[in-house]
Amino acid sequence: MDAPSDAMLPSAAATAAGPATPPPPCDLFPGREAEINTLTQLAQLPAPKTIFVTGPPASGKTAVCRAVFPEPRHPHVDAARLHVPRLLFESTLDALVGHTLTAENGYAPAYRCETMADWIFLLGRLHAENRLMPGASGASEPQRFIVVDNAHLLRNFPDVLTPLLRASGREALPLSLVFVTHLPWSRFMAFSPDVTPLIVPFTAYTAEQRLAIMARDCPPGEDPEFYTWFLHILHDVFCVPCTDLNELRYLASLLFPQLQACIASGAATREPSDRPKLFRHLGACQHAAGERLWTRELSRTEWAQLAPAATGAAEMAAPVSTGRRLLPLPYDTKFLLLAAYLASANPPKLDAHFYTRSGPEDGARPRALTGRGRGRGRGSRGGRGRGGTDAARGAGDHAAVAAAAAAAASTLAQMAPHARGPRAFPLERLLAIFHAIVPARGTKRGVAGGVRSSAGAVSTHAQVALLIALRLLLRAGGGGGGTGPGAAVGGAALRLDDVRLKCNVPYELAREVSASVSFDLDIYLVDG
């Protein structure tokens, strides 16, 4: 007996939509029925002049808008491509009058339109002359929508965004703007504090909806049930760091061939009895390679080269292209970089303990006082032939440092190195540490050490300038001139004498560099 009411729905839709755009089928967008319904109705009824579509990234906003407001009729603009507002005005006018940029017209826009006022004037004139909608499907659906994707980028043009949001000048035109963005309205409120548009919220997908959408990527010829099983496992692992659907689909597209290869090799079948075996195989892939794919350490191409050859987890975890990641620096420059890292990491008052040469038995090696290796339990202190007085002094200092650290255990002081980041240091300190840690060639090459001190100074300064240009060292003040990267590279504005620097290298990279020159970085680092 539900027939009458049920039968009414399609007829209602048919009469409402008329011969114009059919509403997009909801099964193309699982979980977006309410949003599609709202937008479709807005497209068919007199719509508000400003519609604000918001929702988290990868929640189908753009796709739904493209389906509900199809392209040739309703212009779509991506704000990421607009570096000046003129492009917004001209491209929308082009789309509205059906003008395409071709070689014949010299890729010139239909109307030259620099300002918001011109745009509104042209829109009004076109509307009055009835040229706004060539090829329109009649008076049944007279309004048009301009969909602005990534609308949050329009905030760079406040002079444009405010009139657009407030529909200034468009009151009488059948023209609505649809702002699509992942930011909530509160981030736009400053641009239109007293006028709130209609907000169409897209909610985040639930886990079921994500899986349902990903299941539609099932490769042809594959057992859908098997693919769903695979997706569940993948989803369980990767939905914790990120629920972005695009990311998950990317991973699925890369990892599923692994599973297929495993089956093709005959190691397992698709039967449920073999699922634990496949699960183990997949788990190895995920943990070894998944995170590297995830962080784009491995690109899709590199993965394609690596994956067929790799059989176990170890190969997948191995670095593929070390050359890309390691810095191709000269040998001495690497030491300069390490010296800069140490200068940024350690407090200056401890320098004396690290880098003084206390006696001939020490040779060229500097001594490590509190080398705790950042909690890696190296504990490589003592044992380097320290003199008696030095040992006592060092022990006292170490105790003071430890006591201070203990006292500040739960205070901001403990966070200080994390908060502060690398310290700024003067150039002299960098050079002093550099000369202390660089292997003294004088012992091997005889008089060469003497040459370094004069000619080497020039090359050392050149290397510092190189590191600044590479942004491995940052200028923290002094040095004259501007502070932009251009000023650093230009060199003319840079006076190295009074410059203060900061090391812009994370610990991981510093360790890699130190390993490449077989230098033990950890024993020099003060923890905390």
């Binding site: 508000p48 004037f121 309205w185 007293d194 548009p197 919220p201 369980d236 939905c239 966070m415």
Partner: protein, 601 residues
């Protein structure tokens, strides 16, 4: 009148009973729609009929609905009610035997008192609609989809139409008189003047000016010159800078042929050229100029306030008959003027209040939500008068008793912009359907319309966060609570994540352990979502991992969010929580987050 009063009481009782019945029937219909149409469910719905017969006790227990005594002249409404009665009776008869008492009584009451007509219409339609939706035999649905679509179109056009002649602001009579006076003087006597209207957005300033212009045009227009003045509109938001305003003036006076080069001319010079050109023309030489300047304070922000200075100077010096009507939302417009500009301004400021009391405000809100009654005769499909009345009654009801009243009152006490209420109503209007032909505003739907006013915290995309991203937010919160660090860097957050969060004693903390690069990616997504942002621009010069960030919202909201989510996860009706998947929405993930949230405070 005594008889009539009795009849009113009877009608009210009947109507209330009918309302009960309608509500019951609606509920049953909803049940029937929600549950899958199995064979078991439907007979049950039919076997437990709602208390359709008027229950005297229930009806008398409820206070009779308050009505305004005179909404229309008795004679006309009486006639109208009788005219409406016949289709209604038919609908009621068709709606099924069980409804007969209510419907009959309602119709009898409607025939007696015109006042109850709208209400009974509502109930009849409601009952009939419910009966139909429930699947009882009905020859014809009472409200067709076309009718619903017509109401939607009418209401949406009224809501979104911008300028509404439908809702003139009754409070602006004084301002109307002043503007009209000024316009009359300039047209009749050539008296220049300047005036600024101030009032909140949506108070009807522009509508007021337009109406005055129209009446003056009608009064003084002659066949040869239909418009007794030259109108120039300037919009502060788009035409504030000197070049744009000159271009706008030239365009509106159709002087493009005479003035081609306007780029490099000083504004004063351009204005005098324009005036001279107008004087040259024979047909328009004697016509006064009327400048309508919207958002006039935007022109005050321009360097040297060229436009305002020149226009006020023209008004002052009486070089040409000219009227300047400015509108703005700022009441302190005069303070923003330079001295030389201020001294030339007439200092006539009229304020246009949006609403002084809630009754006028609600009335204004209601007018655009209702369809015109009797329906405007238009081409094509005409709106069924009975349905129109029922719909309007539902709007009135929602505004007087329903959830819409709360919304409207919230707006009244904050922004006083009826547009906010209308925008909030759009989802309800879009939800109209043959099954639900009357306006039902259940609750402020999350995210829609009024969100900006009432539910700002939930606008944060916290629900869209992945678990790891939530953990990082909570780690930043830990820094704020325990270490009193308002600003935090990625290294600090990662440190807390590693040393505090991963040490939580829970069963399955291994799934939360990630490499630094993965954590960094999650952190970057928080930046993308603008939940956190650089604490100042100088941080861009710092190494990436040590740039200081700050919350871009009031961070104690996090506690409420995660503790609430945990409660929601424990509830039976939470959809995502039932999935059993670890990760978002799973109760286990929520438990960990809530525990972490609690422990760190």
């Amino acid at each position: 009148m005594g008889v009539c009063a009795d009849a009113v009481v009877v009608a009210d009782a009947g109507a209330d009973a009918g309302a009960d019945a309608g509500a019951e029937a609606d509920a049953a219909a909803v049940v029937a729609l929600v549950t899958p149409p199995t064979r078991a469910a439907r007979p049950r719905a039919m076997l437990t009929p709602p208390p359709l017969a008027p229950l005297p006790s229930a009806a008398s227990a409820r206070p009779p609905r308050r009505r305004k005594p005179a909404e229309a002249s008795p004679a006309s409404t009486h006639k109208k009610a009788r005219r409406d009665a016949s289709p209604r009776r038919g609908a009621a008869d068709r709606s099924g035997a069980s409804h007969a008492p209510t419907a009959d009584e309602a119709i009898a009451a409607a025939a007696t008192t015109a006042d109850a007509a709208a209400a009974t219409d509502a109930e009849t339609d409601c009952a009939a609609g419910a009966a139909d939706a429930r699947g009882e035999p009905a020859a014809r649905p009472p409200v067709t989809a076309d009718q619903v679509r017509l109401v939607q179109q009418t209401v949406m056009a009224q809501i979104t139409g911008g300028r509404g002649d439908a809702t003139p602001n009754v409070l602006a009579d004084q301002a109307t008189a002043v503007i009209h006076d000024i316009l009359e003087h300039v047209v009749r006597d050539g008296e220049s003047n300047s005036i600024v209207l101030t009032g909140p957005v949506g108070s009807g300033k522009r509508t007021l000016v337009d109406r005055c212009l129209a009446t003056v045009t009608a009064a003084y227009g002659t066949p040869t010159t239909p418009k007794p003045f030259l109108l120039i509109r300037l919009r502060g938001l788009v035409e504030a800078d000197a070049r744009a305003s000159v271009v706008a003036i030239v365009r509106q006076l159709h002087l493009e042929q005479q003035i081609t080069e306007i780029a490099n001319v000083a504004f004063a010079e351009a204005l005098h050229t324009i005036l001279a050109l107008i004087k040259q023309g024979n047909d328009r030489a004697h016509l006064p100029l009327v400048f309508v300047v919207e958002d006039i304070s935007a022109f005050a922000d321009q360097p040297r306030q060229m436009l305002l200075y020149n226009l006020f100077d023209l008004v002052q010096s009486r070089a040409a008959p000219l009227v300047l009507i400015g509108t703005d939302i700022r009441t302190d417009f005069v303070e923003s003027l330079e001295k030389r500009v201020k001294s030339r301004f007439s200092h006539r400021m009229v304020s246009v209040p949006a609403a002084t009391d809630s009754v006028t405000f609600l009335d204004r809100v209601r007018k655009r939500l209702c369809v015109p009654e009797p329906p405007a005769p238009g081409a094509g499909l005409a709106l069924d008068p009975a349905y129109a009345a029922a719909y309007n009654a539902s709007v009135r009801d929602a505004l007087e008793h329903g959830a819409l009243r709360a919304t409207a009152m919230a707006v009244f006490s904050s922004s006083q912009r009826p547009h906010d209420v209308w925008t909030a109503c759009i989802p309800s209007v879009l939800a109209l359907s043959p099954q639900q032909p009357l306006l039902t505003v259940t609750a402020p739907s999350p995210g829609a319309g009024l969100h900006a006013l009432s539910a700002l915290p939930t606008m944060l995309p916290l629900d869209a966060l992945a678990p790891l991203e939530s953990v990082l937010l909570l780690a930043a919160r830990y820094l704020a609570v325990v270490h009193q660090c308002a600003d935090f860097s990625f290294e600090m957050v990662h440190h807390i994540y590693k040393t505090q969060f991963l040490k939580l004693r829970r069963a399955n903390m291994a799934v939360w352990r990630f490499k630094k690069a993965v954590v960094r990616k999650a952190f970057d997504r928080l930046v993308l979502l603008e939940l956190i942002g650089l604490s100042d621009a100088a941080q861009l010069k710092q190494p990436k991992a040590f740039r200081l960030y700050a919350f871009m919202f009031y961070w104690p909201e996090l506690d409420a969010h995660y503790l609430r989510r945990r409660r929601g996860g424990a509830g039976p009706a939470d959809g995502p929580a039932a999935s059993g998947l670890p990760g978002t929405g799973s109760s286990e993930g929520d438990d960990v987050l809530a525990l972490w949230c609690r422990q760190s405070s």
